[in-house]
Amino acid sequence: MEAYLDNSATTACSEKAAQMVMQVLTKDYGNPSSLHNKGIEGENYVRDARRIIAKTLKVKEKEIYFTSGGTESNNLAIVGYAMANQRAGKHIISTPFEHPSVGNPLAFLEEQGFEVSYLHVDRQGHIEIKELEDLIREDTILVSMMHVNNEIGVVLPIEEAGKVIKEKNPKCAFHVDAIQSYGKFKILPERIGVDMLSVSGHKIHGPKGSGFLYVNGKIKIKPEILGGGQEWGLRSGTQNTPAIAGLGVAAAEMYDHLEENREHLFQLRDHFIEEVTKIDGVSVNGPLGHDAAPQIVSVSVQSVRAEVLLHALEDKEIYVSAGSACSSNKPSISKTLQAIHLDQNLLDSTVRFSFSVHTTMEEIDYALDAMRTLIPMLQRFTRH
């Protein structure tokens, strides 16, 4: 039996989305910028995808900008916004456990003379709205915050944050990295004061190399890629029509079944957490209830190195990640686990399980069985 439990790293592309990609790659391959009918055909796919996506967020179609994925969306939002608005101020607020595609653009801006304040998070990963309120200043131009933390699944209060930001400094923009939450949460950015929202296609059963950035029509951003002026000048380059069309299909599928999907994921998660914590030396990080993301469980195993557990599970065709897979090709200490002050001994002993709508209870039980046998065995042999 195979159990792919690394869906926060990437998901399988849905059949329907893949078929769409194939169709647009091989049949309706026109360049939306071409004047002839073949070009219009291509443009129509992009327009359809844009309409579907705009509907899921209840925003205007021309506020959706297609990109190559989450990393590009985050870069464009943060660097693009800062560059266009630096005359209004150079202060930015964020959290200490953002994904590197937010963390590194922020570090880049700090080198360029911007000042970044980082909120504190508690042991569960929660922030204090009061702290955010206190940090917002006259010259704060941007708050960037993830909706769901990719490693421990904690949900940040973007609604409250949006409210506080707009009350304290209406000129300050609010960017949300929704890469782990889009498709699993109903998000209405306009109503809750979110001005920019990043989404990646391959985390929601869409094709890799797809994604978008929602940008509120009132917000000014400087493009990072210059060229033919596609995507209303914000993101030049021939649109990746197959990926965009596939992303549209995947987004529709996710939001057509949002409630039942969430319910299914929570069932898996509740059962997994209940059983896995019965194993000696195993603990779960982040909130345990339904206030967390339904698809992510961070598990620490005393005296077992994460990489070893990962490979032992891999041997049984169970796939998980150590820390955060997106950046875990080189072993480094997770910023998230440090931010929540996880016990020093567990930093290198934490793996992430992440589910998708296709994950079954049988797969969860299979993984649990494997853990029950492997963990005591691995705990016998530890490094001294």
């Binding site: 990489e307 070893v308 990962l310 490979h311 891999e314 042999f381 001294h384």
Partner: protein, 396 residues
């Protein structure tokens, strides 16, 4: 411009009656190195020289030189221009054109050294030297003749065709692989062992390799890295039979029963034993390791003696007197370094003790190993039986 390469080989020329064996091996290795390349080549052995001739225009000069530089036994590679005999005037013109293209700055001394192998050529060798020299001096007034210490020597060989060359690109030296038996390299994912394999292969030895894999403690990527390293050195050594031993159970057994400070030494003794088993199976005449005195706890004189004790075959340690930086320099030269430093854990470090013994006493090691009696034989046997063997060759 170049269509041929004259191959210079030093050391093998003095091997007396065995000389043809060495030359045949060199020809074979040159063919092996050129095989994956674009274009067709003919490798000709004639009158104590080896000549590589491109049969058509579509070969890549840089790529060909790089391939020849991986062939042990080659001391120098001379890119030569090959022309048909169309009379002396045409030859002189071709040579002047060649010199003009090759040397931007003409302020230099030169001499011509002609060899007339085809005796019906109308000029004798000294006549060719003189007449060509004159034409060159007329064409390039900045050049002058110095027959004793010239900056450039232009060699002209008159055969059925005529070839001339003036540059010698250094080859790797050594002796052609296959002229000196085979040996078994203990290959880890580190910097040292690939270099050790390279150095022994340079003396004409063909290489087999053994790698110890410890899943789930070492990853599939670590194994892939070792295959990649074997592939890199196979450019020099020829095909490598890589033995991938699953060593986990052996290692865990040692871990459970022996003192942790001695873990690495005892583990290495078993590694040697297993590698020697495969060496014997393949008819290899020795083991090769990348050890260097004092580099780590398991490579002190005491530790080396302890690991050496279990081997019956000679153990070759070509890096024994090298400092790390010297090893890295070779590693970079042979193109292995970038791969060697990829950060995947290997089986030697996973359970390493904080303070491993640096002066193990054989008596203690023997006592510790007695605790393994009973099931270790079985585990070693299983490890040997389940070993995966893959033939690693350079990428085409």
């Amino acid at each position: 411009m170049y269509r041929a390469f004259l191959i210079k080989y030093g050391e093998i020329a003095i091997k007396g009656k065995n000389r043809h064996l060495f030359e045949d091996a060199l020809v074979r290795q040159i063919r092996y190195a050129l095989n994956p390349l674009e274009g067709k080549f003919e490798v000709i052995k004639q009158q104590g020289r080896i000549f590589v001739e491109a049969k058509n225009e579509d070969f890549d000069y840089e790529e060909t030189v790089a391939a020849l530089q991986t062939v042990f036994g080659i001391v120098g590679i001379c890119p030569a221009v090959l022309v048909e005999d169309q009379g002396f005037d045409q030859l002189a013109e071709d040579i002047i054109h060649y010199l003009d293209e090759t040397y931007a700055d003409k302020h230099m001394t030169f001499k011509v050294e002609a060899r007339r192998a085809r005796k019906n050529y109308p000029k004798t060798s000294p006549e060719i030297n003189m007449d060509l020299g004159e034409r060159i001096l007329n064409a390039f007034p900045d050049m002058s003749v110095d027959v004793h210490h010239p900056d450039v020597t232009l060699y002209v060989e008159i055969r059925e065709q005529i070839n001339f060359y003036s540059e010698i690109i250094p080859g790797p030296g050594g002796m052609p692989v296959g002229t000196n038996g085979r040996a078994m390299l203990l290959l880890s994912g580190g910097i040292d062992s690939p270099v050790a394999g390279y150095m022994i292969a340079k003396r004409g030895v063909a290489i087999d390799a053994t790698y110890f894999h410890a899943p789930p403690y070492t990853s599939e990527r670590a194994k892939q890295k070792v295959v990649d390293l074997a592939r890199i050195i196979s450019k020099y050594t020829g095909p490598i039979r890589l033995h991938i031993v699953n060593f986990t159970d052996c290692q865990l057994n040692i871990y459970e029963k022996c003192p942790h400070e001695e873990l690495t030494i005892i583990m290495r003794r078993y590694m040697m034993e297993i590698a020697e088993h495969f060496a014997n199976e393949n008819g290899d005449l020795g083991l090769i390791t990348g050890e260097s005195i004092g580099q780590v706890a398991s490579q002190t004189m005491h530790s080396l003696m302890a690991t050496n004790e279990v081997c019956n075959l000679p153990v070759y340690r070509p890096l024994i007197g090298f400092d790390k930086q010297e090893i890295i320099t070779v590693s970079e030269k042979i193109g292995a370094y970038e791969t060697s430093i990829l950060p995947f854990e290997d089986c030697c470090t996973i359970f390493v003790a904080k303070h491993p013994v640096t002066k193990p006493r054989l008596q203690n090691i023997h006592n510790s190993e007695k605790k393994l009696v009973g099931n270790m034989e079985e585990l070693v046997k299983t490890a040997i039986e389940t070993t995966e063997v893959i033939l690693v060759e350079p990428e085409e």
